[in-house]
Symmetry: C2
Subunit: 146 residues, 2 copies
C-alpha cells in the first residue's frame, strides 16, 4: 500500500527533492485502482492540500515519466491517463460500444514485439497501449446494426 515511499526516497538519491506535493501526487496515483488524469490527480490531492496547482501535477508527472515510475497513456481523446508502472505493466482493450475496459497483460504484445524486432530491427517501447474495438458482449449488436 505504501511501498511507494521507497520509490519517493529513491528520488533523493538521484538528486531530486522530496517535497510534500510530490509525495501526495505519487500517493494519489498509487492508491487509485485504474488510471487517473492529471486533473483527477489534482482534484484528489486538493481535498487534502487545496493549494496544489495543476502545473505542479504536470511537472511531477513529467519527472515520474522520465524515471519510468508512471506510464502515460494517450487515449486519443480527452486528457492523458497516468498509472503506476510498478503495479504491473498491462494494456487496455476499450470497447467503443459500451465503454468497457478489459485489462490485458504485457505478454499480449509478445508476438508483436517479436515481429517488429525480427522484421524491422525495431525495439518497441510500449509501456502502455490502448486498443479500441468491440467486446464480446457488443459483438452481436454491432452485426445487427451493420
Amino acid at each position: 500500500m505504501t511501498h511507494h515511499h521507497e520509490v519517493v526516497e529513491a528520488l533523493q538519491q538521484i538528486g531530486y527533492r522530496l517535497t510534500p506535493q510530490r509525495m501526495m501526487i505519487l500517493e494519489a496515483i498509487a492508491d487509485s485502482e485504474g488510471h487517473l488524469s492529471a486533473e483527477e490527480i489534482h482534484e484528489t490531492v486538493r481535498t487534502a492540500y487545496p493549494y496544489l496547482d495543476i502545473s505542479t501535477v504536470y511537472r511531477t508527472l513529467d519527472l515520474l515519466k522520465t524515471l519510468h515510475l508512471v506510464s502515460e497513456t494517450d487515449l486519443g481523446r480527452g486528457p492523458a491517463q497516468y498509472e503506476l508502472l510498478s503495479k504491473g505493466l498491462h494494456h487496455h482493450l476499450i470497447c467503443t460500444e459500451c465503454g468497457e475496459i478489459l485489462d490485458a497483460p504485457n505478454s499480449l504484445l509478445d508476438s508483436l514485439r517479436h515481429a517488429m524486432s525480427e522484421e524491422y530491427d525495431f525495439h518497441a517501447e510500449i509501456e502502455h497501449l490502448a486498443v479500441f474495438g468491440i467486446c464480446s458482449n457488443c459483438k452481436g449488436d454491432a452485426q445487427e446494426a451493420g
Copy 2:
C-alpha cells in the same frame, strides 16, 4: 490519382452534400504522400481557396472518419495526423532517438489481432497504430548511453 472522386460522389448517395470544400479537402489528403494534420490540410487548400476555415476542415475530417475513408492517428504529441485509408492500411514505427518513421504493413498486427480475438473475444479496430521505440541505427547509441 483522382479515383477519390468516386468516393466523394458516393457521399451523395448516403445523403451528404457534395461541396467544393469537401472535394478540396479530400483531394489534399489524397495528393499527399504521408500524413497531414488538420492545419496542413487547411494551408494546402487555402492556396487555392483562401476562405476555407479550419473548422470546416475538422468537420469534414469527422465525416470522413465516420465513413472510414480517412484514418486519424494521434501521436500523443502535437496535432492528429490524417491519411487516406484507401491508400493501403499501414502503421508507423517511430524512433524516439532520431525521429525516423518506418512504415509497416497492416499484417504486422495479424498476430496481435489473433491473440486479442482468441484470448479476449475482442475485435480490435486498429486503423492506424503508431509505435514508439528505437530503430536499428540508434540501437548502438542507446546502449552506450544506458
